[in-house]
Symmetry: C2
Subunit: 172 residues, 2 copies
DNA sequence: GCCAATCGGAACGATATAGTCCGATTTGAG
DNA sequence: CTCAAATCGGACTATATCGTTCCGATTGGC
């Protein structure tokens, strides 16, 4: 349930690009890497992925670079993540139909996964680049709730989780 | 952005346990593995994780097994995922304080991650074992993204409804 | 026409994961 | 009370994906 580092870096780079020129001027991967701190080769790889996905327009040659293909308000977190990691799919059975897990027919929860997957994707699709470029972190008001300034409830489901033994992972 | 296979199997096993005895009787890992199709060693590993997290109560010795510690309506997908994978954290900077992100101070999107992370977690916390144990899934068979598919919250927890995201707005 | 800077893709290495095995503990029966 | 069986619990190994790096193709400027 963790985002890949590539996607994380892609979000940072896209946000930086949106903040810099609003997606109108061209910036190169080198300058953006120096600014954001992302390693240059990784930044180049991300630029390739993002351009392949159609999120940015790349210009080759001397003085080239890239710019956002769409206004920042129309680019969401889900777009960036899908551009880097592929389609958002919590399980294999949601993404491609040809992916068959061993459970297959006896899996009773398979019909439920698309619903959950869509809910998660909607949560990510509700965050736009414009929101991310803002300094003050808005309380997720713009797109996710559908409402104006709906304060997200604190989510108080009685799940005490008393004996949490594994805080991180099996770090030996 | 994909769920680990262990978490997927854990959800299947927990759902099967909830469907079988409603969390009242004891079942062993062997029988559940045979029923769900999960490999037995993997099922044993998952039982260990789930019992460590406090989701199930294990009884050792001959004729032992495990049963759900809480009613199925109070166990959510987020609980199961956190029991297997650890805390739900899209990025490293959200989870623990030991963020080793190279961007660190220059990261402008870091303040936004907790909000997004909570939104995703809420989406997972809104699905209970009772919902997953239901045969008839939520209305998805008709089509994804086409119409306003509304999930009927017939099995929701009596506690505050965890901010259901907008339903059926983004095409998958 | 030449050079230089950039994007694009491919290969290598590393980390984390998935799966499997064996041992310790406990309980029921004899 | 002893034995035996079944269970949980942790550790090891193999695999796969991810992250990083490097090199080539392309294009614009001079």
């Amino acid at each position: 349930m963790r985002l890949s580092s590539l996607a994380d870096y892609a979000v940072v780079m896209m946000t930086a690009a949106a903040r810099h020129c609003g997606g109108l001027a061209r910036v190169n991967a080198t300058g953006l890497a120096q600014e954001t701190g992302v390693p240059l080769p990784t930044a180049q790889k991300l630029v390739s992925r993002l351009s392949s996905a159609g999120l940015i327009e790349s210009t080759r040659g001397t003085g080239g670079g890239f710019r956002l293909s769409r206004p920042p308000a129309t680019i969401t977190l889900a777009d960036i993540i899908e551009a880097v990691e592929g389609p958002i799919a919590l399980t294999n059975c949601v993404d491609t139909s040809h992916q068959e897990c061993a459970l297959d027919g006896s899996c009773r929860v398979k019909p439920h996964w698309p619903v959950v997957n869509r809910a998660v994707r909607d949560a990510l699709a509700g965050v736009t680049l414009t929101q991310l470029a803002t300094q003050a972190p808005l309380p997720l008001a713009g797109g996710v709730g559908g409402g104006p300034v709906r304060s997200t409830p604190a989510f108080d489901i009685p799940s005490p989780n008393p004996s949490r033994k594994r805080e991180g992972e099996q770090v030996l």
